[in-house]
């Protein structure tokens, strides 16, 4: 982990895995169960290897054999229940440290695991010769809650006809959920994968499909896969279903799979993939490392894109037809991301969690290069700015994101991120949002490195890493080359310094070894006498998420004579920088003004300050620092910057700045940009919203028709009858996006009474009325959805008289019109559903807005019906979003319970994740506010949920932790009984638990507490005896007698129902954890 010492890779295990066989004999869709075995070939690296620790979660293990000898084993998962049930602790700090300890206890990167196998003593002697051991484990999974996801639609017909399928999923290394393995990215081995499935199904997995063989009864077939490239277990995946198969027409070794009936969409969506392949292979000057590639599109996907060795699993919702505009770039981006991760992430794997940033960074960076090539430099720079803004906002709000955490000694005191409510020591303890920001920062830092050493060197480094890895991958295990396929921070930096000869140490220290971003405040004065620009750059490095920056910074000054770059040095105490200006103010000379890109333009200079030659100033224009800049310059300078600076980032900055200057000149600048067709469409879209804000601020002095109306009319309406929009023709995408955006922005206009002007509303209603898509090549579903959004934006709070009940009769006339449109759209969508139900989603948002503004009665039942399982997932999320909002506004405890129970029980993992995420974003109450909802029962419920209810999904558990933090904060929730009592509880834990008055009331907690009271003497006795037995087993060599005992005991496991099984495991863990803690 420490980058100083990790020259070669040192395995934390006393053995090395070389090959693993995974064989799944039976997949039962009806019962949602899986039976199979694995066989791991390992080389002991120590003499007397007596224990083998492997990872396995929720698998039921029937037997373990080592070299054909029965071996005793212990299955112990401390993450099932993080804190001991008897504890009345409800403080998040306590939970976080307990959770981190639990994850550490089974962390494969530290050589630990849930499954401890005792090597039979007969084989010990063999260990001296370091001979191969074969560990054979039979296991089954019954209704897995994590790892594998079964989608079984409830209709008539065979499983294949029903479109039933199953696929593996997980956040980070989660393969242990579906078969026993060494679940680490750094333990590579070759693979043989066999899956026996129904004859009507296809099993898609990693590596090459060698052959497909029918079983003897011809009703099933077995897919044999071989993966000769050493691969880590977390990069192994499986998808089984009645997939339609499409061989890529351009690359025959690439195969695409989708669910029945979607083949036409698959064909269209995949028609582009070969270009992405070509792009990456060209820039990396390296062939795609695997011999084949498979894409599988599944329903109810965990994430949109997940990459595994030689295959990627995507959400089926990425598929689209040729008629859809908006989805197309998104799908292509997802494909490009997946493919970038094939090179860095799957083929080249990380050495440790601390090196994750390198792989995420490189894959994100080359994905960025793809964006630049495909969507253009403007789009790329826009994206970089967006990502930079995101990370800056997150870090300033939540505290720093640390890319390369180092843990010296592993003591809690050395926690590098004390501001966070979770530990960043393990990927499984991270909040999802943090992880997303982590990835975002990683690729931005890669870009900073590129800025420093040039793209050419950067690509050379990647090429070097890839060629090293490919050489290593073709070697036999014995050559000890495989660790070359693992990438560490150290190796990466070394490679950079070798290739470029440059020292990027300070850069790495600033952005990788340290968290936080830089916050600059800039202002300037022009000294006419000295003809000098006096620039002042201050920093805020004291507030959370900020750090001090010392080093070079680029400042670009546009003067009358041209554009000049200045490299300034930010030092400890210097705030002021003098920059000599080139031009005296010479406005009288009619001369074109040269811009940065060499272009020369005419400008109307009348707005300028007569004494100053400065047109505009930009600080760090290339975004080569992770920073936020707040710069002060006069409004006319922002206007010049918007009109004449050619960089989209500068234009966007100018637009944001102009919001504060509601003047006719700003209006004119924005309108000009809006009309300018050469201008990047996203800038023009942003200008729409800015114009709406300015118009609202200028409402008393605004001249002419509402903002953008005449512009829209000129661009999109008929010449002869300006109130009627032309029939849709979206062949020009730029104007399509503008056409979509302008009404949405216009609807934000407000008149003197702070309501949406009548003209604007009628205008939008007319757009809806006259919308005609019959002659269009493209679907107008997103456009119509945006028109509904525009209607939503036009809503303002209802005038309420005496809090009367909202009825149809007292509906405002305008609202009635809006409601009629929404009703019609919503109903039509039932008959002619739009792509991804975009229109219904907009309608639901509109209805929630109508409720919130008091036009119609606030009622959650409509949203509840749309949130049910069985609706399209986007629709469900939109409905849930409305419900979350309802819960907050109405402080409804019933709805909160409803949401939480869905978060606990919904079949779709993504929906559960989203519910918690949305509750965090829009919490019903926070730690600082008082609310009737905040009560002990809720605390207990959430605590139980994150403590034991989410053990099957790392992401969900972290979501629950986030929500708990949002609602109650780090310390003991205020709504719980007096803190004194809590203190007593902590001190006298055991006794307090025995006190029946404070017994938790619900579920497992109560059940376990009762056990502790020794009510069921026999159970406790039994399990304790069992545990003692096993502990003893671990300490001394086994005897044939213990063998049979273990065997019989595991056998009883197989016959118990899942719940008692978990209980048992929890029992084991509790009893053994004390023993284990001694080891760790």
């Amino acid at each position: 982990m420490n980058r100083k010492k990790d020259k070669g890779f040192e395995s934390p295990r006393p053995f090395k895995l070389t090959h693993q066989v995974v064989c799944i004999n039976n997949i039962n869709f009806q019962r949602k169960s899986v039976i199979g075995y694995v066989e791991l070939t390992i080389f002991p690296t120590v003499v007397n290897l007596n224990r083998i620790k492997l990872n396995s979660k929720q698998c039921r293990i029937y037997r373990v054999r080592v070299n054909d000898l029965e071996a005793p084993f212990l299955y112990n998962d401390p993450t099932l229940e993080v804190c001991h049930h008897e504890s009345k602790q409800r403080n998040l700090n306590y939970f976080s440290s307990a959770y981190t300890a639990a994850v550490s206890a089974v962390d494969p990167d530290a050589g630990h695991g849930e499954l401890v196998i005792k090597v039979p003593s007969e084989l010990w002697k063999q260990g001296d010769d370091l001979k191969v051991l074969k560990v054979y484990i039979e296991f089954s999974l019954d209704q897995p809650k994590g790892g594998l996801h079964f989608v079984v639609p409830d209709v008539e017909g065979s499983m294949a006809e029903r479109g039933a399928h199953v696929f593996s999923f997980g956040y980070q290394n989660s393969t242990r959920f579906w078969f026993p393995c060494v679940d680490s990215y750094s333990e590579l081995c070759t693979w043989k994968l066999e899956f026996t499935v129904d004859a009507s199904m296809v099993a898609v997995s990693c590596g090459d499909l060698v052959e497909t063989i029918y079983t003897h009864d011809m009703r099933k077939k077995t897919f044999h896969y071989v993966l000769p490239i050493p691969t880590a277990a977390p990069n192994i995946s499986l998808a089984v279903g009645p997939f339609e198969i499409l061989v890529d027409p351009y690359m025959h070794e690439v195969t695409h799979f989708c669910l029945p009936q979607l083949l036409p969409l698959l064909k269209h969506s995949m028609s582009y993939l070969h270009e992405i392949f070509e792009f990456y292979e060209e820039i990396l000057t390296c062939r795609y490392p695997y011999s084949c590639f498979k894409t599988v599109f599944v329903d109810e996907a965990y994430v949109q894109v997940s990459s595994y060795a030689s295959m990627s699993i995507f959400s089926t919702n990425l598929l689209h037809s040729a008629m859809i505009i908006d989805q197309t770039p998104q799908t292509r981006r997802c494909l490009a991301q997946a493919l970038a991760q094939q090179f860095f992430g799957c083929f080249i794997s990380r050495m440790s969690w601390a090196d994750e940033w390198v792989l995420k960074g490189i894959s994100g960076y080359i994905y960025g290069l793809y964006l630049k090539k495909t969507f253009g430099v403007n789009e790329y720079r826009h994206w970089i700015k967006e990502e930079l803004d995101k990370i800056v906002e997150y870090e300033l709000k939540m505290g720093g994101v640390l890319l390369h955490p180092t843990f010296s000694g592993g003591k809690e005191k050395d926690n590098p991120t004390p501001h966070l409510h979770f530990s960043i020591k393990h990927p499984h303890t991270l909040s999802w949002e943090y992880y997303k920001m982590f990835q975002c920062k990683a690729h931005l830092v890669m870009r900073l490195i590129e800025n420093r050493i040039s793209m050419e060197f950067m690509l050379q480094v990647f090429n070097k890493l890839l060629s090293l890895a490919s050489t290593a991958s073709s070697q036999k295990y014995q050559s000890h080359m495989w660790s070359q396929m693992l990438l560490s921070t150290h190796a990466f930096l070394k490679s950079i310094s070798n290739v470029s000869g440059k020292d990027i140490g300070p850069l790495i220290k600033q952005w990788v070894d340290q968290s936080s971003v830089v916050k600059f405040f800039g202002s300037f004065a022009f000294n006419r006498k000295r003809n000098v620009l006096e620039l002042e750059i201050r920093q805020d490095y004291t507030s959370s998420g900020t750090q001090k920056y010392v080093g070079p910074i680029k400042v670009t000054v546009q003067e009358l004579d041209g554009s000049f770059n200045h490299m300034l040095q930010i030092e400890e105490n210097s705030l002021k920088h003098d920059i000599p200006c080139h031009s005296k103010s010479r406005r009288n000379k009619k001369k074109k003004i040269p811009l940065m890109n060499g272009e020369e333009v005419d400008m109307d200079l009348s707005a300028m300050d007569a004494d100053s030659p400065l047109l505009w100033i930009r600080i760090d224009p290339d975004m080569s620092i992770l920073r936020k800049v707040e710069f002060e310059q006069a409004d006319f300078m922002w206007q010049y910057q918007l009109r004449y600076e050619r960089d989209v980032v500068a234009q966007e900055e100018a637009i944001s700045a102009l919001e504060k200057f509601p003047t006719p000149a700003s209006r004119l600048a924005l309108t000009d940009i809006l009309e300018q067709e050469q201008c990047f469409y996203k800038v023009r879209m942003q200008a729409c919203f800015c114009l709406a804000k300015i118009a609202n601020a200028m409402v008393s002095t605004w001249q002419g028709p509402p903002a953008m109306k005449s512009l829209f009319t000129r661009m999109f309406c008929c010449k002869s009858c300006p109130n009627i929009v032309k029939t849709n023709n979206f062949i020009n995408f730029q104007s399509y996006f503008l056409q979509k955006t302008m009404p949405v922005a216009m609807a934000l206009l407000r008149d003197g009474q702070n309501i949406c002007p009548k003209d604007v509303l009628n205008f939008i209603l007319d757009l809806i009325k006259y919308n005609d898509n019959r002659k269009n090549k493209f679907s107008d579903n997103y456009y119509r959805a945006d028109l509904i959004e525009a209607l939503t934006n036009s809503l303002t709070p209802a005038m309420s008289i005496n809090n009367e009940v909202r009825t149809v009769d007292n509906l405002n006339a305008d609202v009635r019109l809006i409601l009629e449109e929404i009703t019609r759209f919503l109903n039509m969508e039932k008959l002619l559903p739009s792509f991804r139900n975009t229109i219904t989603i907009s309608c639901l948002r509109a209805i929630r807005q109508l409720q919130k503004n008091g036009h119609i009665p606030s009622d959650p039942s409509l949203f509840k019906s749309y949130a049910q399982y069985g609706h399209f997932v986007d629709l469900r999320i939109a409905a849930l979003e409305a419900l979350v909002d309802y819960t907050r506004v109405e402080r409804s405890s019933a709805e909160l319970q409803w949401l939480l129970s869905m978060a606990q029980n919904d079949p779709v993992h993504y929906v559960r994740h989203k519910i918690l995420g949305m509750l965090c974003k829009n919490p019903p109450f926070t730690k600082t506010t008082d609310s009737a909802l905040c009560n002990e029962a809720l605390v207990d419920q959430l605590w139980k949920f994150m403590n034991s209810g989410t053990s099957h999904d790392w992401r969900l558990r972290c979501d629950a932790v986030n929500l708990y933090y949002m609602l109650f904060g780090l310390t003991r929730p205020s709504c719980l009984p007096l803190p004194e009592l809590g203190l007593v509880l902590n001190l006298k834990e055991k006794k307090a638990v025995l006190n029946p008055t404070i017994k938790p009331e619900l579920g497992v907690g109560a059940f376990n507490t009762m056990e502790d009271e020794d009510i069921d003497m026999e159970t406790v006795h039994d399990s304790q005896a069992f545990i003692h037995h096993h502990l003893n087993l671990l300490e001394r060599p086994s005897t044939p007698g213990t063998h049979t005992h273990t065997h019989t005991h595991t056998h009883t496991h197989t016959h118990t129902l899942p719940n008692p099984l978990h209980k048992h495991m929890a029992e084991h863990r509790r009893a053994t954890s004390t023993g284990h803690l001694g080891h760790y």
Partner: protein, 285 residues
């Protein structure tokens, strides 16, 4: 006017006689006699007008007979013309044609009935041909209503129509099925079709509706997948992507790899397309 009538009386005698004979045999003799008397009065009046002071009874009878047969013939003939053109009530033009047929000069249309300036014959039409009728009988007056080609109105109409259809349809479905409401007191004003969970929600959310596919085909029917084998399309209910690549041989969704390989030469060697092997009598490794 009287002259021609009298002069052309002769040739019609035979017909008139026939009808007279028939009339005597009919039972409504009184009517006949009354008509005859009227005609006699008319003849006598004409004679008086022409300057005769007295006439023999036989002469009056003859003249009456001639007049009657003449009128009868006009009626019969006009009726025949009228029925010839599949009408039941004779019109003026039928009568006119009849009169021309009977080689009398067509009666000059009374001044009061003629309108406008009649066209003279062009040079190539002999003058004995009938004159042009009154201009109003053939001149068309362009009085059509402005067809709704005004863009604004068309769009307006299309929009309203679509909205009405949608509203009616959704209301109907809402009335016949389960609904949800935003208001507790009034569940009919804004009825929402109840949300029904589906077993495979992603299908309807991802696949384009048939309507959209249809529209797409209309806008872009350039390329068609010409190579489809029956087995594959059977297993695949969704129509193929127009831009689909021909190289891909589709597989049935069941995943059973067809043992017969595609007949093309450039067979793709992909392990997922290879046939499944028969089990061998050997232990699995």
């Amino acid at each position: 006017m009287a002259d021609p009538a009298v002069a052309s009386g002769g040739p019609l005698n035979a017909g008139a006689r026939g009808s007279a004979g028939k009339a005597t045999s009919s039972p409504a003799e009184n009517y006949l006699l009354a008509r005859r008397r009227t005609l006699q009065v008319v003849v006598s009046a004409l004679l008086t007008e022409s300057g005769f002071e007295s006439a023999e009874k036989a002469a009056v009878e003859t003249l009456t007979e001639m007049l009657q047969s003449y009128i009868t013939e006009i009626g019969r003939c006009a009726k025949a013309y009228c029925e010839h053109t599949a009408r039941s009530v004779p019109t003026l033009s039928d009568t006119v044609v009849t009169l021309i047929e009977m080689v009398t000069n067509a009666p000059v249309t009374p001044k009061a009935l003629s309108a406008g300036q009649k066209r003279t014959h062009p040079a190539h039409i002999p003058s004995h041909f009938p004159e042009f009728p009154d201009p109003h009988t053939y001149i068309k007056t362009p009085t059509f209503r402005e067809p709704v080609s005004d863009y604004q109105v068309v769009r307006e109409k299309a929009a309203t129509q679509r909205r009405d259809v949608e509203r009616a349809l959704t209301r109907f479905i809402a009335k016949t099925g389960e609904t949800q409401s935003l208001f507790k007191d009034d569940i009919t004003t804004f009825p929402l079709i109840a949300a029904q969970p589906s077993t495979i929600p992603y299908l309807s959310a991802l696949l384009p509706s048939e309507l959209e596919l249809q529209a797409l085909e209309e806008t872009d029917s350039s390329e068609q997948d010409d190579q489809t084998d029956g087995e594959n399309t059977a297993g695949n209910a969704i129509t193929d992507d127009p831009g689909a690549d021909k190289e891909n041989s589709m597989l049935p969704p069941s995943g059973v790899v067809p043992s017969t390989k595609a007949s093309e030469d450039n067979v793709i060697d992909n392990p997922y397309l290879r046939p499944v092997k028969k089990p061998k009598v050997r232990r699995k490794k």
